[in-house]
C-alpha cells in the first residue's frame, strides 16, 4: 500500500518552507533596507507601510524577520550538518566494532559531550574566542554529534544481525563497505527524521544564544537579538517582542510537524525519541 504524507506533514512543510523562502528572498529583496535607520519612524505599530511595525531605530521589522530567518536557518542547518557529518560515521564505526575498544571509546566520548549542554559549550567558546554566529554553530553542532552517533549506532546494531548483512559478509565485503553500502541506506529515513528535529532544536538554541549575546552579533539581524533588543521596550512596544517570538514558534512548530509527518510516512514502525 502506498500513501502520501499526512496533512500534518503538509502544514508543517508549508510553514517552515515559507520561512526558508522568505530567507532566500531576502538575499534579493526586502521591503526596506535593514541597515537604514529612520529615527523619525521609530517604534511604529503595524500599518500598511510596515506590516509588522518598526523598531527603536525605525527599521522595518518585516525586513528584519526575513534577514533574521537567514541567520537562524543557516546556523541550525550547518549545526545539523556537523552533527550528522561526524556523528553518523562515528555511530557506524562503533556498531561495526560492537563491544570493542573503539565502540567503548566512542560511546563514552558521547556520554561526555552530553554533559556539556550547547549553552555551556557556547559559554566556554565565547569566553575564550569571543561571541559570533560561528561559535553558535560550533556549540550547537558539537551537541548534535552524540545525538546522531547514538541513534546511528542503535539502528545499525540491529541491522548487523540481519541476513542480508550476513550475505554481504559472506561475499567478502569489509565492515566499512557494508556500513556504507548496506547499513547507511537502511537508516537514512531515521536520520532524516532526526535531522528535522535537531534542525528545530537548533533554531531554538540559536535564538537563545543570540538572546543572551553569545550568538549573532550586530549588525547581523537575528531573531534572538531582536528579542534581546525588545526586552527593555516591552512595556510600551510589545509588538517588538511579539513578532520575532511568533516567527520562532511558527518555524519550530512547522519543522516539528514536518518531522512527525515524515516519521509516520517513511516508516510507521520506527519510533524516534523526541526528547
Amino acid at each position: 500500500m502506498t500513501r502520501g504524507p499526512s496533512l500534518t506533514f503538509w502544514i508543517g512543510a508549508v510553514l517552515s518552507l515559507s520561512f526558508v523562502a522568505a530567507a532566500l528572498l531576502s538575499f534579493l529583496w526586502t521591503p526596506y533596507d535593514v541597515e537604514a535607520l529612520e529615527i523619525a519612524n521609530r517604534l511604529k505599530t503595524p500599518s500598511v507601510a510596515h506590516p509588522f511595525g518598526t523598531d527603536h531605530f525605525g527599521r522595518d521589522i518585516l525586513s528584519m524577520i526575513m534577514v533574521g530567518a537567514r541567520t537562524s536557518i543557516a546556523v541550525a542547518l550547518v549545526a545539523v550538518g556537523i552533527g550528522m557529518g561526524l556523528g553518523v560515521p562515528l555511530g557506524l564505526w562503533a556498531a561495526a566494532r560492537k563491544g570493542g575498544l573503539v565502540d567503548e571509546v566512542i560511546m563514552r566520548g558521547n556520554d561526555l559531550v552530553f554533559a556539556f549542554p550547547s549553552l555551556v559549550i557556547a559559554i566556554l567558546i565565547t569566553a575564550v574566542f569571543g561571541a559570533s554566529a560561528l561559535n553558535a554553530i560550533i556549540a550547537i553542532g558539537i551537541f548534535n554529534i552524540p545525538v546522531f552517533a547514538r541513534l546511528t549506532r542503535g539502528a545499525a546494531l540491529s541491522l548487523w544481525q540481519r541476513e542480508f548483512i550476513l550475505a554481504a559478509r559472506v561475499a567478502g565485503k569489509g565492515a566499512a563497505r557494508i556500513s556504507a553500502e548496506h547499513i547507511l541506506p537502511n537508516i537514512l529515513n531515521l536520520l532524516i527524521v532526526q535531522g528535522t528535529i535537531q534542525f528545530s532544536l537548533g533554531i531554538l538554541a540559536e535564538a537563545g544564544l543570540s538572546y543572551v549575546g553569545l550568538g549573532a552579533q550586530p549588525p547581523l539581524p537575528s531573531w534572538g537579538r531582536m528579542l534581546a533588543d525588545a526586552q527593555t521596550m516591552v512595556s510600551f512596544a510589545p509588538h517588538l517582542a511579539l513578532i520575532p517570538g511568533l516567527a520562532i514558534v511558527l518555524m519550530v512548530l512547522g519543522l516539528n510537524l514536518m518531522g512527525d509527518g515524515l516519521r509516520d510516512w517513511l516508516d510507521p514502525r520506527i519510533r524516534v525519541a523526541r526528547a
Binding site: A115, F116, P117, S118, V120, Y211, V212, L250, L253, R271
Partner: protein, 315 residues
C-alpha cells in the same frame, strides 16, 4: 545493587576527570595567554607579568591543572580577577537563586506533565488526548525566554500581579522570594512539561499494550485502576531518562531566564564574567554546571536500578 552502584560511580569519576581536563585545556591552554585575554590588547607588559604570577601561569600546565582540581575538591575555586573575592563564595551566593529556580521549575513541570500525560494516555485518540497533544506540540516550539517576556507583559506590566524582575533575597522571607521566582519558574517549566507529558503518554501507551495489563484487567481491574496500579511504575523508566536529560536543559534554561527577570543567579555571574574576561569565574561555573549534569545522570542511573530490578542483574 552494590556492584552496579560501584561500576556507575567509577564511570562517574572518569567522566568528571575527562570533563575537567577538557575545560581546563580549552580555557587556559588553547589560544595564547589568559592574562592577555583578561587585560585586553592594551595591557602593559609588567601588569601582564604580575597577573601571570598571581594566577600561577608561570608554572607548568600539569601542575596548574593539579592545583586547580585539588583546590576545587577542597572548595577553593580560586579568586576572581575582577571582583577580588573567592569564586567559591560568589558561586555559592548565586546558587541560592539558580538552584531553587531550577528545582521550582522541575517540580512545576512534573506537576503539570504527569497528570497531562496520564490523562492523554487514558483518553487515547479522543478529543482530550488531541487537545493535550496539540498543546504540547505548541509547548515544545515556544522558546522559554520569549514565553518569559510574554508572561512579564501580561502578569507584571498589565495585571501587576508580579514584579517584572529582580530578587528580594531569602532574608526577607521565603514567600516574597518564591513569588519573585514564580514567573521565571513557570516560563522554564512549561516547555519542559510539554516534552515530559509526551514521553509520559507514549511510555504509558507502550506498557498498556503489555500482557500483564491484560492480566490485571482480566482480574477485574478497571482501565483506570490497571493504569495507576501497574502501568505507571513501568512507564517510569523512559520518564526518568527524560527527567535526567531535562535537568541540563533546566540549568541552561535557568541561565537564560535569569537574564529576562534580572535575577542575580549563576547566569548573570557567568555573563558578567565573560564580558570582564574573568576566565577563572567562567571556568569554575562551567565545571560546576557540567559536574551537576554528570552527577544527576548518575543518580538517574541509580534510580533506574531501583525502579527496575532487571537492570541490576544485567551488569
Amino acid at each position: 545493587m552494590l556492584r552496579y552502584t560501584l561500576k556507575r560511580a567509577l564511570s562517574l569519576l572518569v567522566s568528571l576527570l575527562v570533563a575537567s581536563l577538557v575545560i581546563f585545556f580549552v580555557v587556559e591552554v588553547a589560544p595564547g595567554d589568559p592574562a592577555a585575554y583578561m587585560l585586553g590588547v592594551n595591557a602593559q607588559e609588567d601588569t601582564l607579568a604580575a597577573l601571570r604570577a598571581e594566577l600561577g601561569l608561570d608554572q607548568p600546565k600539569l601542575v596548574r591543572y593539579a592545583a586547580w582540581v585539588t583546590g576545587m575538591l577542597q572548595g577553593d575555586f580560586g579568586t576572581s580577577y575582577t571582583y577580588r573575592t573567592p569564586v567559591a563564595q560568589m558561586v555559592a551566593d548565586r546558587l541560592w537563586v539558580s538552584l531553587p529556580l531550577a528545582a521550582y521549575a522541575l517540580a512545576l513541570s512534573t506537576l503539570i506533565a504527569f497528570p497531562a500525560g496520564i490523562y492523554a494516555a487514558s483518553r487515547r485518540g479522543r478529543a482530550g488526548d488531541m487537545a493535550v497533544m496539540g498543546a504540547t506540540q505548541l509547548g515544545v516550539a515556544v522558546p522559554n525566554f520569549w514565553f518569559a517576556m510574554m508572561l512579564v507583559v501580561i502578569f507584571a506590566i498589565n495585571l501587576r500581579w508580579f514584579s517584572a524582575g529582580g530578587f528580594p533575597g531569602w532574608e526577607g522571607g521565603v514567600l516574597p522570594a518564591l513569588k519573585a521566582l514564580t514567573l521565571p519558574a513557570i516560563a522554564l517549566a512549561l516547555p519542559q512539561a510539554a516534552i515530559l507529558a509526551r514521553v509520559m503518554r507514549s511510555a504509558l501507551l507502550d506498557t498498556l499494550g503489555e500482557d500483564f495489563i491484560r492480566t490485571a484487567r482480566a482480574k477485574g481491574l478497571s482501565p483506570g485502576q490497571a493504569l495507576r496500579a501497574h502501568a505507571l511504575r513501568n512507564a517510569l523508566i523512559p520518564v526518568l531518562t527524560i527527567l535526567g536529560l531535562q535537568f541540563s536543559f533546566l540549568l541552561a534554561g535557568a541561565i537564560i531566564i535569569e537574564q529576562v527577570f534580572f535575577l542575580p543567579g549563576l547566569g548573570r555571574l557567568v555573563f558578567q564574567a565573560i564580558s570582564a574576561r574573568d576566565l577563572i569565574v567562567v571556568e569554575s561555573v562551567v565545571m560546576l554546571l557540567v559536574f551537576a549534569v554528570i552527577v544527576v545522570n548518575f543518580l538517574v542511573d541509580l534510580a533506574y536500578a531501583a525502579v527496575d530490578p532487571r537492570l541490576r542483574a544485567r551488569t
